[in-house]
């Protein structure tokens, strides 16, 4: 039996956005807006970040050009046979904070996870004109349905922590940090203990 009253009201007020972002879309989105993302994005969490930065330390080329792309912090659960992917909601972003400014300097256009970012990351986003979005934590089954294709790009041995390329359709998210320097969590008063 469905728990729902009807069609989710969620879909009423979404702003449709194509990935990768156009410079115009990046500049026009504002903190607090609900967006519906369609197109290509890359994924990575703790291990992928550690390894990307280790490659940069060694002066080596990264397995993917992140310039202009959206990097989604996710470690999916395994796909059942015949499925694209398992549950695939966001992980907490602050664990990526120490790596993020280096990736933004390479031209990464946006990151997506959940929870507030450090002052250093917010400053780097402002300097490089990058967005931060929150996906809906704990909605892994719903978000799984928005992922139409998943392709392994690098770090296969890291399992769920590997770097994947996703094709997504109508993937919902909330803009947290916009290019004007607004922070939606701060506006609401939900800044985190971990941003110091």
């Amino acid at each position: 039996m469905s728990l729902l009253r009807g069609e989710p009201a969620f879909f009423d007020n979404l702003i449709e956005v194509s990935l990768p972002f156009t410079p115009e879309a990046l500049a026009s989105l504002k903190a607090g807006q609900l967006v519906s993302l369609s197109g290509t994005l890359y994924t990575g969490r703790d291990q992928t970040h550690r390894r990307l930065c280790a490659l940069l330390d060694e002066g080596k080329e990264l397995p993917v050009d992140l310039a202009g792309q959206l990097l989604y912090y996710v470690g999916p659960s395994p796909a059942r046979p015949g499925r694209v992917i398992g549950a695939a909601g966001p992980t907490t972003s602050y664990r990526m904070d120490s790596y993020t400014p280096r990736l933004l300097a390479l031209g990464l256009a946006a990151t997506m996870g959940k929870g507030a970012r450090s002052a250093e990351v917010r400053q780097a986003m402002l300097a490089h004109g990058a967005l931060y979005l929150a996906a809906i934590g704990g909605a892994g089954a719903f978000l799984s349905k928005c992922i139409k294709k998943s392709e392994l790009v690098a770090f296969a041995d890291a399992g769920p922590e590997a770097l994947f390329r996703f094709e997504v359709e109508n993937f919902p998210a909330v803009v947290i940090n916009d290019l004007a320097g607004r922070d939606y969590y701060a506006l609401v008063g939900a800044a985190s203990c971990c941003e110091k």
Partner: protein, 278 residues
């Protein structure tokens, strides 16, 4: 003396692990439904609706509610008149291993230093209590770490008193912000010793969501803390609204005259738990 074979325990634990990841229990679903109906924030209301949709999809299509299918936490109450044939701990671990493999659940357990994944989601954490009788109760609580990482333990000076405890809990919960996937359930362990307080905080999460303590003074504190947390308006996922927490559960235990341990174990809205009595 009643005999239970360890292989039966493995099967039961496997099934609990798979069911917990996919099928939310009525207590948390009801709490989310009530929250949705009461919510005044527009964005928060939409997100609560989406979380109910998510629970629906998870159960119907067998996709985990959340990709973080957690560290396995097992609470056992073993009747003194039960004899387990075989290795009980081994049987529990085997059940977790099978559940995570056969249920397509994410293996998230690694070595704390090398960070190398054990590949099986074992070892699970096991808490065993001996009780009278000839039954074995097994509770499975897969714990995701977005919320677990926001937990804390502090040894307050007794002079802090009740007000000190209340302030500490509220400050800590609000400081967690949107990290632990609110609306959260706040487990508080008050008293005992260093490790007892932490265990009480976790055990507090096993109470049906929103059930008050049977101690009137503790129940009043639970209600006050919940009210004050929600009055701050952080709301669902830190997007604003009146539902930052669904419940505060506090368990107490007498402590040393010089001590006032306070442990806080935070649980996300994807509050997965299953129980069986053998």
């Amino acid at each position: 003396m009643r005999e239970i074979d360890s292989s039966e325990i493995s099967k039961v634990v496997r099934d609990l692990a798979i069911a917990a990841a996919h099928d939310l229990e009525p207590d948390i679903l009801d709490a989310l439904l009530v929250a949705r109906d009461r919510e005044t924030g527009e964005l928060a209301g939409n997100i609560l609706e989406l979380l109910l949709t998510n629970a629906d999809i998870a159960s119907r299509d067998r996709i985990p509610v959340c990709q973080d299918t957690g560290t396995g936490i097992l609470f056992l109450e073993l009747g003194q008149e039960v004899h387990v044939r075989g290795d009980l701990n081994e049987a529990l671990q085997e059940g977790v291993r099978l559940g995570y493999e056969e249920g397509y659940l994410r293996k998230s357990v690694c070595d704390p230093l090398t960070r190398k994944n054990t590949g099986t989601n074992t070892p699970a954490v096991v808490h065993l209590d001996m009780v009278p009788g000839d039954r074995l109760t097994i509770r499975f609580l897969p714990k995701g770490c977005g919320s677990e990482n926001m937990s804390s333990l502090v040894m307050l000076p007794p002079a802090s008193g009740t007000e000190g405890v209340v302030r500490h809990v509220i400050d800590r919960v609000l400081a967690a912000g949107s990290n632990p996937c609110p609306p959260m359930i706040v487990g508080v362990g008050l008293g005992g010793s260093f490790e007892k307080a932490a265990l009480l905080a976790k055990k507090a999460l096993l109470r049906p969501v929103g059930m008050r303590s049977d101690r009137a003074d503790v129940a009043a504190l639970e209600e006050r803390m919940l009210r004050e947390i929600n009055a701050q308006g952080q709301g669902v996922h830190g997007f604003g609204g009146i539902t930052t927490a669904l419940a505060v559960h506090m368990e107490t235990f007498p402590c040393h005259i010089a001590s006032l341990p306070v442990a806080i174990n935070i649980q996300c809205h994807a509050h997965r738990h299953k129980e069986i009595v053998i």
